[in-house]
């Protein structure tokens, strides 16, 4: 008897990695961003509009790296979260509705990244599962309070059914079981971040710690 044929498992893994979709929004205007020229970014606690109460914290573990590698100083997210909480600002909605300039005074940051989780869920239909992560990013100046940049990302993971034969069905059943036991949103969040931050024409221009700093005016 033949055990699971590995091509299906590989296909499943590949689907996890590849199932993103980034729509192409109109090219944004970077004049405010360029005029403000932020060097450092404070990521404040994430507003949660999803059904998963843990999503904001889990997401927080994914955001520092892409921003820092883009060339910005990123304030220590966990420390900032705790300090804000000690200051009575554990409610992300409250922080997001507050004045960015006040946070600028407290932390000495140039800009503040406000992120909202719109979706962070897995939907099960018979043997197939769809996992969705949807995020909105807004960068505001800590000096003027103005919005400097915004982006929206939706990443969907849907295991591709084998379609024909029992092997595909079995692979799908395995996929559903794996996902149901512990849906892993992290790769999707990472992909959303990359789609928001790293894409030419819509992402963040290179920051001061990147070699392309102020040399990418044609692209942003």
């Amino acid at each position: 008897m033949q055990p699971f044929s590995s091509p299906h498992l590989w296909a499943l893994c590949a689907a996890v990695l590849l199932a993103g979709c980034a729509s192409a929004p109109p090219r944004p205007n970077y004049s405010l961003f360029r005029a403000d020229n932020p060097r450092s970014i404070l990521v404040v606690p994430v507003v949660n509009r999803s059904v998963d109460v843990n999503a904001p914290d889990y997401f927080l573990a994914t955001i520092t790296r892409p921003l820092a590698e883009r060339g910005y100083y990123v304030f220590p997210v966990n420390m900032v979260r705790s300090v804000l909480s000690d200051d009575g600002l554990s409610d992300a909605n409250l922080v997001h509705s507050g004045d960015p300039r006040r946070l600028g005074e407290l932390f000495g940051c140039d800009a503040i990244m406000y992120i909202s989780i719109e979706r962070w869920d897995a939907r099960y239909v018979v043997l197939s599962t769809t996992v969705t992560v949807e995020l909105t990013y807004r960068l505001k100046s800590a000096r003027s309070g103005q919005e400097l940049w915004t982006n929206h990302q939706t990443v969907v993971y849907q295991p591709r059914g084998g379609g024909a034969g029992i092997a595909g069905l079995v692979a799908d059943a395995v996929a559903a079981a794996i996902t149901k036991a512990a849906p892993n949103y992290i790769p999707l969040a990472r992909q959303a971040n990359a789609g928001a931050i790293d894409l030419k024409h819509t992402g963040l221009p290179a920051g001061p710690h990147d070699g392309m700093y102020l040399k990418d005016n044609d692209e942003y």
């Binding site: 699971f4 705790s82 200051d87 940051c109």
Partner: protein, 125 residues
Amino acid sequence: MSVRVPMGMVALGAFSLFGCATNHDKYAWGSYDPALYAYYKSPAKVTALAQTLQDTISESDAKNVPVAPGLRAEYGYLLLQQGNSAQAVVYFQAEERQWPESKVFMDRMIQVASSGQRTPKAKEP
């Protein structure tokens, strides 16, 4: 008959959890992201997070690789929460030396730690 899952798949699974694109990184991150994620999943893992940060910082310093922004401060803050104010100040100062952008925040936290508090007393905004 047992079900064989190829080892490669296990490796890929681990990879897809947090890995990728490490070859172009500017900074040493160690296992900061997965350790932070694990800590948020289970707060008892704060010790593992602290250990990861400490290892990443000392290994990178030994190899003269720049430590990622925020890591020294994160570690200092965990020390402060454990009541180790003196060592916390050392790491806040080191963060500020490496990243002058952090000056306002680090100076404030150094003041907090030096006065024997564990958290800033400031109210509002």
